[in-house]
């Protein structure tokens, strides 16, 4: 893993930590490109809220936005996702987090 990617990687994690944004990525993964109103139609929230989620995905490099007339159209850019496909580092993070729980448990017992 490249060390100077850490910030970007964290952005990607943050971007996909939210279920709405995961659903947006899913919708975009199934289509070439979708306009905002079609994406908004899939959610209970309004277009402003959906726009904000898309902006976060855009910052993380996960979607690419393109203006066409009055409309903004979005498509998926899956490349940053490969940063988080490294199972080995995922498990390292998982175990470190779990072991810190174990530390607390054992301290409590003292």
């Amino acid at each position: 893993m490249v060390l100077n990617n850490t910030n970007q990687e964290r952005d990607v994690y943050a971007a996909i930590a939210d279920p709405t944004r995961r659903q947006l990525l899913n919708l975009l993964a199934k289509a070439d490109e979708l306009p905002l109103h079609e994406l908004t139609a899939q959610f209970e929230m309004g277009r402003t809220a959906v726009s904000k989620h898309l902006a976060i995905l855009k910052e993380a490099g996960l979607v690419i936005a393109r203006k066409e007339g009055r409309e903004t159209r979005y498509r998926l850019n899956a490349a940053p996702l490969k940063e988080i496909q490294d199972w080995v580092s995922i498990y390292e993070g998982f175990w470190k987090e779990r072991i810190s729980k174990l530390h607390l448990l054992l301290e409590e017992k003292k």
């Binding site: 994690y13 943050a14 996909i16 930590a17 939210d18 279920p19 995961r22 990525l25 993964a29 998926l76 899956a78 490349a79 996702l81 490969k82 988080i84 496909q85 490294d86 199972w87 080995v88 995922i90 498990y91 390292e92 993070g93 998982f94 175990w95 470190k96 987090e97 779990r98 072991i99 729980k101 174990l102 530390h103 448990l105 054992l106 017992k109 003292k110």
Partner: protein, 136 residues
């Protein structure tokens, strides 16, 4: 050969206490997930996490090796991949306990997987619930 995951931890608790935390089902549930672990070689058990849209939350395991209180090893099968988790405990002269974790057996394909969104789904699975807490 270097393990895929190789981590060292240190505890001020005794080796017996750490061993207990690794092998007692109720204690395991407090720091990993609920489970039906039993410290018997060949015992098949599961860890059960909260399922989500990407993952059924189940890890299938089988106890491979028990050497109380020094070594514990089990298989770890989740989301179509089987790895081996091995815990090694060592009591230091100052009474502290060193805990070493190895996780081996990740396929080359998994390690090298590029680009496709499918793989990322599994990653979200594992990370998202913890991440949401961390990032909240």
């Amino acid at each position: 050969m270097k393990s895929d995951v190789s981590l060292d931890f240190k505890f001020t608790s005794s080796i017996e206490q750490v061993w207990h935390a690794l092998t007692d089902s109720d204690t395991l549930a407090k720091w990993i997930w609920s489970n039906d672990f039993q410290p018997i070689v060949g015992h098949k058990f599961q860890f059960r996490a909260e399922p989500n849209e990407w993952w059924n939350g189940i890890v299938d395991c089988e106890v491979l090796e028990i050497e109380e209180p020094h070594k514990l090893s089990y298989t770890w099968t989740s989301a179509g991949e089987t790895t081996t988790v091995t815990w090694t405990l060592t009591q230091a002269s100052d009474g502290t306990t060193q805990l070493h974790l190895d996780q081996d057996g990740f396929s080359e394909e998994t390690k090298a997987r590029q680009g496709a969104i499918e793989g990322a789904k599994y990653a979200w699975t594992n990370m998202s619930s913890q991440l949401e807490k961390v990032l909240a």
